[in-house]
């Protein structure tokens, strides 16, 4: 039947590496099936086709779907949980010092009290267009302190230095916002040239 180099080694002594390889392969492969294979095969010919159960195929996606739903529910809960105010300036005015604030390099450790997501902030006031369509929001650039008013730096707030801005966020003691006199913004240097 076959045409290989492996034949004829059965009765030869193992003299070389080649002989040893042949003998080992022969040992591994010259095995006969258990007796009764024909009978076993014939006995199963009329057996109905065994179809795989649909349960394992259904359980895997169902489990994955449940995990996703659970994760979404947990995220949703954590988003709507009451958020304690921790060192975040909640003033409606974006002070110049707050604009220059850099986030700390090391994130504070999360505790059970802190939410997984950062708290939502209100809309950030942006400088109004100097070309018209002024909104009613107060721009930080348009806030002028009068000489008799108390500046934030005088109230114990640090200056707008990046090095000290973080300290201002960490100690947001009672913030007193002085009365503001909002002047229309007029910057001749930036006026469009004609």
């Amino acid at each position: 039947m076959s045409n290989h180099d492996f034949e004829g080694h059965a009765m030869r002594p193992i003299r070389s590496i080649d002989d040893s390889i042949d003998a080992t392969v022969r040992d591994l492969m010259h095995v006969d099936p258990r007796p009764g294979l024909r009978r076993r095969v014939l006995s199963t010919l009329d057996a109905p086709v065994r179809k795989g159960s649909w349960m394992p195929w259904l359980l895997a996606p169902a489990g994955a779907l449940a995990a996703v739903l659970l994760a979404v529910a947990l995220l949703d809960n954590s988003t709507h949980a009451p958020v304690p105010v921790t060192g975040v300036m909640t003033s409606g005015i974006t002070a110049p010092s707050a604009v220059a604030v850099r986030r700390p390099a090391v994130k504070p450790a999360r505790t059970r009290d802190t939410p997984a997501q950062s708290p939502k902030r209100g809309p950030v006031a942006t400088p109004a267009s100097i070309f018209g369509q002024r909104s009613d929001r107060v721009s930080a650039a348009s806030v002028r302190f009068r000489s008799n008013e108390v500046r934030p730096a005088d109230m114990g707030e640090p200056a707008a230095s990046p090095d000290t801005a973080h300290g201002a966020l960490m100690a947001p003691s009672a913030l007193v916002i002085p009365a503001l006199d909002i002047q229309p913004l007029h910057l001749p240097a930036l006026s469009p040239r004609r």
């Binding site: 030869r12 193992i14 390889i21 095995v31």
Partner: protein, 202 residues
């Protein structure tokens, strides 16, 4: 169909009878091809028990697909292709072959002992030489388990004594020349490794 089938009846005739629903004819096909099917499965899965299951599954699949067999190739080649696919599926599922091939101590059955006696040409052969040969064969068996699968499959199928290179090529999906190269390369690789372990040819 009688239980005893003349050897003059070709596989083709038996296939036609089996396609008509003759289970005995198919039984004769099983009998004629059982060893080739079993050893092909054995080359892939490495365990006689697993190979037995694979062979049974392969015959069952062949019976169910027999209506689609149009005789464009030999029944044996078609059957071996089914067997090889089943065996590879099984191997991929259980991945047992490496462990078995690499384990130096196989269960010594009475058949193993008989094989050992067969290889000894004379009772006067020195016992230490037998032990040395056994040790070498254990190492070869371990090294066969470390061969790349393509080379190992070709080597074991070629060494099964049941398959021609053409049949092996059909099973592996490779030309005959490639199969022969793989067998030779497997042997070269084994010899290199054995030489590195201090075994040289006499």
């Amino acid at each position: 169909m009688t239980a005893t089938v003349s050897s003059e009846v070709t596989d083709f005739d038996l296939v036609r009878l089996a396609q008509a629903g003759d289970a005995d004819a198919f039984g004769e096909l099983v009998e004629r091809n059982r060893r080739a099917v079993f050893r092909a499965a054995l080359a892939a899965v490495g365990s006689a028990a697993e190979a037995d299951d694979v062979a049974q599954e392969a015959f069952l699949t062949a019976w169910r697909k027999l209506a689609g067999f149009r005789g464009e190739s030999q029944f044996r080649t078609w059957l071996l292709s089914i067997t090889w696919r089943k065996a590879i599926d099984r191997r991929n599922t259980i991945s047992r072959w490496l462990k078995l091939a690499a384990s130096p101590a196989r269960h010594e059955t009475s058949d193993d002992r008989l094989d050992l006696i067969e290889r000894v040409p004379s009772l006067a052969r020195a016992q230490d030489a037998v032990l040395e040969g056994n040790e070498l064969q254990r190492q070869v068996r371990t090294l066969i388990g470390t061969l790349p699968r393509k080379l190992r499959d070709a080597l074991l199928l070629a060494g099964s004594g049941e398959h021609t290179y053409e049949e092996i090529g059909q099973m592996l999906g490779a030309p005959v020349g490639t199969v022969k190269w793989r067998v030779a390369e497997a042997r070269r690789m084994l010899k290199r490794k054995l030489a590195a372990m201090g075994h040289g040819d006499e």
